[in-house]
Amino acid sequence: MKHIIIVILSLAITSLSFAQIDRSKAPVPGPAPEINIADPIVFDLDNGMKVILSTNNKIPKVSFNLVMGSDPRLEGEKAGLSDLMGDLLLSGTKNREKDQLDQEKDFIGASLFASSNSMYLSVLTKHMDKGLDLMTDVMKNANFPKAEFDRIKKQYESDLYAVKTDPNSMMSNAMYKTLFTEEHPYGEVMTEETLNNITREDVVDLYKKQYTPAGSYLVIVGDINEAEAKKVAEERFGDWEGGVPFEKEYNHGIQPKNNRVIFVEKPGAVQSVINIAFPIPMTPGDEDQIKLSVLNKLLGGGGFGTRLMQNLREDKAYTYGAYTQLNVRRQGSFMSASGNFRNEVTDSAIVQFLYEFQRITEAVPTEEELSLNKASMAGSFARRLESPRTIANFALNIHRNNLPKDYYQTYLKKLSNTSETDILEMAQKYITPNNLNIIVVGNKDVLEKLKQFDGDGEIEILDAFGNPSKEKSYLPADISKTEVLEKYLMAITGTSNMKKANKKLCKIKTIEKKAIIVPDQSPMELKMTTLYKAPNNSVTKMEFNGMVLQEEIINEDRGMSKTMSQQGGFETTHMTDDELKAELKTSAAFTEMALIKNIEDVELLGMEEIEDQTYYVLQYTFGKTTTTGYYNKTTGLKDRGTTLRVTDEGPQSISTKYSDYSKYNGYLLPNTTTQIVEAASMTSTLKEVKFNGKIDDKVFEIEESN
């Protein structure tokens, strides 16, 4: 292959002498070498692509990284669509079947990867033309054959099935869903159900929208000079056409009001995967970012010398490794601390995580600790420059995130300027030790020990995909779901069969209820008025000192809610058709009457024992609200309920207790209703109930929106 000249070096120096070594002191390094960050070459193509070039001829290879310009999209019932599209991209084009594409790619030893948002080709320079043939063919002409679509879907089914035993996937699903909710693309998790909803047309449609030159970046790195790169970019990518990129903003992560424990069961686990995560209100390039990243490094951002490593590994030997991560992205940022711990020390490990979060917000780090971590980061920055991709990626970040042009040139200086007080300031600004999501994937044996960490003592249990787990163990019910509802309706009407009950229920034309609400943590008294008119008109009004704070009106055609804003005016929200539809499904004098009509939407989970009572547990989901009702086996009455609602601010859980059922006009109603939201609770006491009084239709009217 090569001519190798082997020279046997007859030694010029046969012996050396030098001063006695003093091993007791570490040698002091000389001045650090200067770091130069070469400026990459950047140019635009007429079709809206920006090309970034970093030339380096150390090895005879060149790579092309194409990054699309769109923001992520919400996929909802089709969660997983973009993953599927990405995986299908290399399934063939109108010019090449998949087998041919694979064959041609492997034959030149190239790597070609594609995702919904990017493509990457790495190839020996001598095979660049062939590599680009394949890459641009996929970019322009992917055709998603039906057979491949079906095959990948089946493959995904297998993968999703396997997720249930993979602790890392389970953790990732739970964490993203908790941090961002389903209202954010980051929080969307594919399940068997959403996979099933995806059609080939969806994939083709997304490809057309997503793969477009406008706003995209082509990053060229390696053994190619500027003139060649310009020629290649122009010739191979210049004629590519497409629409405008998609733009959209989302929530930037939901901060829990208290520490929130989330548990995902992994049967047979010998370790708990612990992850403590919380959102960080920050976008790339934020002036705090470098300072916060120093904090992250010092706390657990890599290396053996961080606080978490020293505490959890080197001191306590709870784990092989514990790390923090600061993830700053345009659409939402977060910080997390994680590690794997044997079951027995799961709770002890969480105590130490919390201790470290608390500690960093209370005192400045030592000068030594800070300088060590800054030096480590500076070194890491310098090492990264070995890869020519780094320089190109710097340029890509600057353009994508609108960073100052000298962001990376000044990085080391900003790093070095970060002080001890900066770290404390960052900790106090961004870390809230009592607003953390504490997520554990593990054996259910550890569950009981986690309760102490939760703000309201109620651990949320999620399944492998980050959805509320239905796998709670219920006793099998001894009657049907219809019978549970009927039993309730007979109980509240004081009747012995459904015929009599229905007769009595049909008589209800209107109800007017007045109640006093007292929040448990403040002495104020609120007045709540509820008006109902058959079949499904309702108004709920909340007042304080004669001032309306909140009002919700629903009639057959519309629904709206008005909330007093901080400035004194009202914010009015009109329900969407879907929301109204969901509301109407439970609209009746008594919700259970409506549920009997929609019995196919109701699920009887089974029986559960709570505080010496046995309950039938019914659950139903309409729209974004999942309600669970607990019906007393002995009395038939509903004593408890929980509502889980997915809102823009994240999932909101309300638990309700009904007690002191009393007779009004022959109907039993709970005099006392206690609601618990997060850690706060309020009790409402019924003061007045009027059946079949006259209520003016006008109160149910809603002006058409816009």
Binding site: M1, K2, H3, I4, I5, I6, V7, I8, L11, I13, T14, L16, S17, F18, A19, Q20, R23, A26, P27, P29, P33, I35, K58, K61, L90, K98, D99, Q103, D106, F107, S111, L124, R151, K154, S158, Y161, A162, T165, G268, A269, V270, Q271, G303, F304, G305, E314, D315, A317, Y318, Y320, N340, R342, L372, A375, S376, G379, S380, A382, R383, E386
Partner: protein, 487 residues
């Protein structure tokens, strides 16, 4: 104080490669104490990788102390005579470096990467580790638990994570490849202080170590520093005399060596001026270090072993294992090419036939562990949902049968060569990668320049060789069929 005068180099070879951009120039030589040194200068980025490869792995372990070599690797970060517990990492971090280590069946590898002004620091740290590492009880007990957590995390709690241990255990009866580097929990618990002392004295000696440095260095300056930190470590058993001097009380030392500890210079052992002291040191310098290496040859399998492991998994899997050739043989190269044709890339046979066409598996692959002694070649598949595991096994068998009975096509053969060419350049793109590759080629192939000749090796292999190697190693009556089924 006296100056130490040592002869620097016993022998030195300079491979002055022709100035093609793709060749990797290096200098290599042995120190007087037997330590091998490899230096590669690459000034394109101001960083340097300093590494030491010890030719000891789990195959050198006592069968009732499995996992010891890896456990020992953890202890080698605990400090030395001059480095306090917890300080080893800090020296590196404080100077912007990174470090890590790993242990395989055959070797233990330590490395640091930092900006090039820290070369001397790296040499000091590594020479401290080699000369007089120090571990206290707290360190031992902590690392014992840490290693157990590592095992839980990587093996016990990962779906299929135990396949390597389970397969080697069944395919090997005599050879120490029977166990994997992570070892058994109970053996980790059983390890005693004398085990550490013996292991250190036996395997952590200059003659069993290769120092490989790549990056922004000046070769001549580096040589001087290497001599200072490593050349000053004495040859033969004198290093262990010194270690015993440090660790034994006077009584034990005297009963072992017949001399009082006081005959040595307290501040600098090797600069001892007393006649008796010097004589003892010189005597032990002449006692050669012999590194015990297992000479056990695993007898061939004589039947097909079929077994099942029940694991916390959802999708069943099947592993078919054979004895494979040792890595530095022509057979191993032929097998590597064959494996790539069978499972390297999306166009490879297993992916095309089993995953895409028959849809029997979510993934299917074949490979051979690159090991010093004959090891294991594997065919494996993880079944897709609702696939009968027997159907998947048959599909794997069909690929094995094709490999044994048919020549690979000309096109496949050319493809694998092209792929290897690409991989060759990718793997030698960082100084850390080059330092490691250079050490590997020296330790296992006794030919450091193989880094530049690697591609040529494959040129001597024919399509017929691939078929022959399949026939020779993939024997139906000498293999393991291991099923993984959900618990």
């Amino acid at each position: 104080m006296k100056k130490i005068i040592t002869s620097l180099l016993v022998s030195s070879l300079l491979f002055n490669l022709s100035a093609q951009e793709t060749s990797i120039d290096f200098v290599e030589f042995d120190l007087d104490n037997g330590m091998h040194v490899i230096l590669h200068e690459d000034n394109s980025t101001p960083i340097v990788a300093v590494s030491v490869m010890y030719h000891v792995g789990s195959k050198n372990e006592n069968p009732n102390r499995t996992g010891f070599a890896h456990f020992f690797e953890h202890l080698m970060f605990e400090g030395s005579e001059n480095i306090e517990r917890g300080e080893f990492d800090k020296y590196i971090e404080r100077n912007g470096g990174t470090l890590n280590a790993y242990t395989s069946q055959d070797k233990t590898y330590y490395y640091e990467i930092f900006s090039s002004n820290n070369l001397e620091l790296g040499l000091w740290l590594e020479s401290e580790r080699l000369l007089h590492a120090k571990v206290d009880n707290k360190g031992i007990e902590t690392q014992r638990e840490v290693v157990k957590e590592e095992k839980r995390q990587r093996v016990d709690n990962q779906p299929y994570g135990s396949f390597m241990a389970e397969a080697f255990d069944r395919l090997f009866q005599k050879h120490p490849y029977k166990w994997t580097p992570i070892g058994y929990m109970e053996h980790l618990d059983a390890a005693q202080e004398e085990d550490y002392v013996n292991f250190y004295k036996t395997f952590y000696v200059p003659a069993n170590a290769t120092l490989s440095i790549a990056g922004d260095i000046n070769v001549e300056e580096a040589k001087v520093l290497i001599e200072k930190y490593f050349g000053s470590i004495p040859k033969g058993q004198a290093i262990n005399l010194y270690r015993d001097y440090l660790n034994m009380n006077n009584e034990t030392f005297k009963s072992t060596y017949g001399e009082d500890k006081s005959i040595f210079n307290k501040d600098n052992f090797f600069a001892t001026t007393s006649k008796d002291g010097k004589a003892l040191i010189n005597k032990y310098k002449e006692i050669e270090t012999v590194i015990p290496r297992p000479e056990i040859v695993e007898p061939p399998l004589e039947k097909e072993i079929v077994d099942t492991v029940y694991d916390n998994i959802q999708l069943p899997a099947v592993f078919i294992g054979y004895h494979s050739p040792a890595q530095n043989t022509k057979d191993a190269y032929a097998l590597e090419m064959l494996n790539s044709i069978i499972s390297g890339g999306t166009s490879a046979r297993m992916n095309k036939n089993i995953v895409e066409e028959k849809e029997l598996a979510v993934s299917a692959f074949s490979f051979a562990f690159p090991l010093e002694d004959p090891g294991m070649a594997l065919f494996a598949g993880i079944a897709s949902k609702d696939t009968d595991i027997e159907d998947l096994k048959k599909a794997l068998d069909a690929e094995i049968s094709t490999a044994k009975n048919e020549l690979v096509t000309e096109k496949e053969f050319q493809k694998v060569k092209n792929q290897f060419e690409n991989d060759f350049y990718s793997s030698n793109s960082s100084v850390a990668g080059k330092a490691e590759a250079l050490a590997n080629y020296h330790v296992y192939f006794n030919n450091t320049n193989l880094i530049n000749e690697q591609l040529k090796v494959y040129e001597d292999i024919t399509r017929e060789d691939l078929k022959e190697v399949a026939q020779k190693y993939f024997k139906d009556n000498a293999r393991l069929i291991l099923y993984y089924l959900p618990k």
